[in-house]
Amino acid sequence: MSWRRRAFGRLRAFFSKRALDSALEAEISAHLDMAIDENMERGMSYAEARRQAMLRFGGVQLAREQQREARGLMNLDILLQDLKYTVRTLGRDPGFTSVAVLILALAIGANIAVFSVVNTLMLRPLPFPNAQQLLWIAPPPTKCGLSCATYSTDAYDEFRVQSRSYQDVTGYFAFSSPGNLSLNLSGGAPISATSIDVIANFFNVLGVQPAMGRLFTADDARHGAAPVIVLTNAWWRRQFNADPKIVGKTFDIGGQQTTVIGVLPASFDFGAVFAPGTKVDAITPLDLYGPPRDWGNIITFIGRLKPGISLSQARQDAARVAPSMCWNNKQPQSCGSYKDQVVPVPLKDYISGRLRRSLVVLWSAVGMILLIACVNLSNLLLARAAARSKEFAMRGALGASRSRIVRQLLTESLILSGAGALLGLGLAFILVTWLAHQGAIALPLLSTLHIDGAALAWTLLIAITAAVLFGLVPGLRMAGGNLQESLKDSGLGSGQGRKHESIRSILVVSEVALACVLLVGAGLLLRSFLHVLDVDLGFQPDRAAAIKVDYNDNVPGDKTGVLTTQKRTVIFQQILAHVSAIPGVEAAGISDYLPLGQNRAWGTPFPKGIKPPDNASSPLVYVITPGYLRAMGTRIRGRDFTWDDGARSDSVVLISASFARYLASLANWPDGNAIGQVLASGKQDLHIIGIVDDVHEEAVEGEAGWQIYYPQSQADSAGAQLVLRTTLPPATMASSVMRVLRELNPKQTAAEFRPIQTLVDHANSPRRFFMLLVAAFATLGLLLAALGIYGVISYSVTRQTQEIGIRMALGASASRVERQVLTGTLRLAVIGIAVGAVASLATAKLIASLLFATSPWDLATYVGMALALLVVAAVSGYLPARRAARIDPMVALRAN
């Protein structure tokens, strides 16, 4: 209690310094006056009385100081003194100060930016209230990606009713394709936009509140309800100029008058959370009990746990419910097919769990950058401290205690790192803002990236840590120095104590070692990335492009769908005929889904007479026209579909090579040849007419899955992506293709003409993102290491000017001196590289899981990076070496 009051008193004393000082002055002068009065009463003259009074009082100044020390915060006073002094000394050496601050700013800036990314993706909860209650419910990962991570509407109902762990369960339609909305504003071409269908309780479960209007109610999703739409904040601003009266307005969307009922808050970005790297413009209610009932597995599950229910309880609950879920309630044999296929995981793990390792690696990389920067600064400060040794020796001789000098040096470090942190914060802000606007990078939550309070706290922490790290070694060395020696030492000219040199050498070696670890890591990631680019995707993305085509195949009163299919075939045939006639188009075809995008599965057709094994993976389904595979650059063995494969001819399919191998091994086909064999799918016979290359449809990395292709004239297609293979760069074809499409269908939306390469780039973007960042950090590390080597060698040459001068006067040749300096440099570099290589070998395990087709002990990378470091070290050592060789002995000897 009392110490608190005392501390408070002291604090107040520090801030009301002037008032207390004047009170003290009044007290002292009253004291002296009283003493003078008494002395004069004893018969002294005024002058003598005053002299005696002052004598008895002792030094007035001393009394003041003592009193101030007793009452106030001496430490704070000293700190202010130190600060003033530091700013003055740093200002006197702008070269050193700016280099030091710049190095720190780069290192600290990189750290803040990466921390913000890590914080957003890994540390911070998802941007929903009580986000830890949210679970993603899906089967364990399989070959068929999202198609096998979804459930039917019947399964949804069963799960929702039977589960006891959840406040509520929701989901969304997983197969909305980009550009599935066409907004018809009066006048002008229809505008293409992307919307996601969600179950009506979607926003309730996530805890999202509208920015304006309302969100969905159960009524909105009822079969036959009036169409409604909720706009995302971004689309509302972009497309509707942030119209404050938008709620209640109706628009023609896809031919239906649709009412805008609400606008989402800017904080909710569907794409950022559930579909990284894609843009979602609007949300629409999913009509669970309409046609989707028969679409099979289409819904993803998201649940919100009841308070107090643990993940393992939810898992047990799900395992209990799963066997009673049916794919379709009307098909009793489909009940129980979800056994072991319903596994809840925290939503956050689903969204960013895969990235954890990458983030840790990134974080370690910037941590190393910070270490390198600290080592560099330590070196610079050591050099500076050596030059200032006389100053400190003088201060020591004048009575400054050791701790006071260390304190002064630490203050300097803190000021430097503080300035570096401020500048670094600016750099990080630029970087983070830029990253937040990289919509094309398929990383979750990237758009929510910003520098928040946690990042600021982190900045403070690393600034202080850095200051202590790089300030302590020079500080202790300085304060521990021998006074007499420093004062006597002439400073320049002769090689200074071995000990000093060896500390600096150790610092350089550790710097090189750290840079080596960084470079090897970056090199391995770079090699992995190059391997990924080399992957045979099963299609040729270059010179191919896709555009979404609108068509109207609606035939009134068509119960069986046969007429619709016929009409669609005619439309497609017409489109392809016209598009193929455009000069520069080599091949054209239409598919309803593209690789590396949306996909779906329809269950597995099996060879006739073979009983399907349990839990077999399903091939992904593509419904295509003749020419599509040629346009994509996918090779076919056997024949392609033709326009003659129609409703009345045999049902035909193409299957991928690995699926064909699987089926052949199952059915023991002669020579494993699948062409000409027949598969059974329900009551339908499917004739295999060809085998096509395996296509990487889910991700560029990893194994290609299975595919099955149906001719669109014999199957329901879910839209149309027109794919063109061109002799000209695809981008130059965009306008002519659009003109042709508009001629055929005036309602064609202004859809994006996307080179297929962008699909691949999109799929590779997370790897590219991490690889680029790590490579950038490695380059920064290399630069800093080079700077460190240069600084140390250059400094030691300067200090040895006289010695070198003497040696040259005694006959050493310039080239010999040069060689000697270079050898010294390379020796440090080699030791550093050796240490770094060993450390890399030890840490390579950490990034092993991030590598693709690259061993963590890839010899070429190690050798390449070691050589690169050696070259950089040689160059940084060469400049001072040349300077040493050019020393004129006469000048050098006269100088001191």
Binding site: A30, H31, M34, R56, Q66, R71
Partner: protein, 121 residues
């Protein structure tokens, strides 16, 4: 001037100030200083100025309280008075001091050996 010596001196001065205020009631700085000099028979040659650091220390610990007033010969001065907790402290310190001097007396009285040079301990 090593810190240890200073501490001892400080402690002693603080104790003297407290005791003076306990005996005399309210006094200003000069009065306290003079009183200590008189009582000690001028054996303590006090730098009167040091008393002010002592006064601040004691006041921050709430052992004394101060207020501005007018001295006998009409000068504005700051008057100090001991507080209740100051008296408690004084009692404790005085006891401690007596024990210490008692021990010192016994230790010194025990030493018959006049040889003081060979024993640095």
């Amino acid at each position: 001037m090593t810190p240890q010596k200073l501490d001892l001196l400080q402690g002693t001065l603080d104790l003297m100030v407290l005791n003076t205020l306990a005996a005399m009631g309210s006094l200003h700085g000069y009065g306290i200083a003079r009183r200590i000099e008189q009582v000690s028979g001028d054996e303590v040659l006090l730098n009167q100025g040091t008393i002010y650091a002592s006064l601040v220390r004691l006041e921050q610990r709430s052992w004394i309280a101060s207020s501005w007033g007018v001295s006998g010969n009409n000068r504005k001065a700051r008057f100090y008075a001991i507080t209740r907790s100051g008296r408690r402290r004084l009692a404790a310190d005085a006891r401690h001091w007596e024990r210490l001097t008692g021990v010192m007396d016994r230790v010194l009285g025990m030493s018959n050996d006049p040889d003081e040079e060979g024993n640095p301990a």
